[in-house]
Assembly symmetry: C2
Homo-oligomer: 225 residues x 2
């Protein structure tokens, strides 16, 4: 029997690739998505389609109310998503403690499903501005999970897998294509419309478009104009 794994799935390019990688490694994948008041709800539709297309065993959407906390252009309508290019500093699209929160839920679900392996598509190359995409954070959170859970203290430690962490976007795309990912199903845009069409100008769109160019493959993204 295949070992179970929890795969955090946003509906974007990176996490779809992670799901394909985990499946290729022989895991029975349970995908976990979050409805956290993000502007780009088309992502959640994409997550469901991707889960099905890539053979996930189950797919869950947990509603969490990050809007109550605020502080990010992705959850707070009073803040604008920047469209003028990728900068050096931590962007306003950073959601406070997002990956920490998401991983905590994944750990909880892992305990319930007796899955010790958790996959997350963090990337320290393109998202160098996000502190919660760095290997040292992931290692610290893994340790917290192993000290703070029934499973961890009971001899079933968690392993947080970050297969994309050191890959450039073009490498991620090539990896996914080799594993049969249909990137036309994925939505990466921070402000996609209801049909999942991308704006083409936010940081996420810019990184994605550049990735397809550098990978030398056609960009299947549907743009708004």
């Amino acid at each position: 029997m295949n070992r179970p794994a929890i795969v955090l799935l946003s509906g974007g390019l990176d996490s779809a690739t992670v799901l394909a990688i985990a499946r290729d490694q022989g895991y029975a994948c349970h995908t976990l998505s979050f409805d956290y008041g993000q502007r780009h709800r088309a992502e959640l539709d994409a997550a469901a389609r991707i889960s099905e297309a890539l053979g996930a065993i189950s797919h869950r959407v947990v509603r969490i109310d990050l809007g109550t906390i605020g502080g990010s252009a992705l959850t707070d309508d009073s803040l604008s998503v920047p469209t003028d290019g990728v900068g050096e500093s931590i962007p306003i699209t950073y959601v406070p403690a997002r990956n920490m929160t998401f991983l905590s839920f994944a750990v909880g679900l892992g305990e319930v499903l007796e899955a010790q392996d958790i996959f997350i598509g963090v990337n320290a190359v393109d998202y160098s501005g996000y502190p919660d995409c760095r290997p040292e954070f992931i290692a610290a959170l893994e340790q917290a999970a192993n000290l703070g859970t029934k499973a961890g203290v009971g001899g079933h430690p968690f392993k947080i897998h970050t297969p994309l962490i050191h890959l450039a976007k073009a490498e991620i795309i090539r990896t996914g294509l080799a594993l049969g990912v249909d990137y036309g199903l994925t939505v990466s845009c921070y402000q996609a419309d209801e049909q999942g069409r991308a704006c083409g100008v936010c940081d996420s769109c810019r990184l994605r478009r550049k990735g397809f160019e550098e990978a030398g493959v056609a960009d299947p993204t549907r743009y708004q104009n």
Copy 2:
């Protein structure tokens, strides 16, 4: 100006005491409660009353859907709350990765409010069965927060305060009484009724009742019978 702090507040005896301690230490307290599908919703009413009575600056309730994940008698109606006494092993009332999840939200709110101090009422004496009440877990999570957040990497590290961690229940009660806590406002029972009256027989009720006995003070708890 008083330094801001985030205080996790369940509405029970322990977290009410923590709020009083944080306030006594001079913090401007922002309380954070969770509606996570717990059976004992009377707790949330209690949290609001306690926040007001103890002078919290703000009180937030974040809705999170732990029921989607399941695995605990506190969130899953198909599991029964044990009423036959406190055992040695991890109880079924353990909610997978609960404190990890709650602390992640507190860290996120801390970033937004620029509060570096987080207070949580974990206790390693009475809740020795809960791995997420141990000091080593708290230390690991604090480290993760400081590696994985904009605030932490930007020179504003978080400190997770656990003022109750080594106190017996009677000591917690004496501390709170000295600081003016009205324990009649608090609800600790795992299966309180809608009026907040306690069952008297779940683990939480047993520990609480014993605490008042050992502290030698009258128990203000309203029991169902």
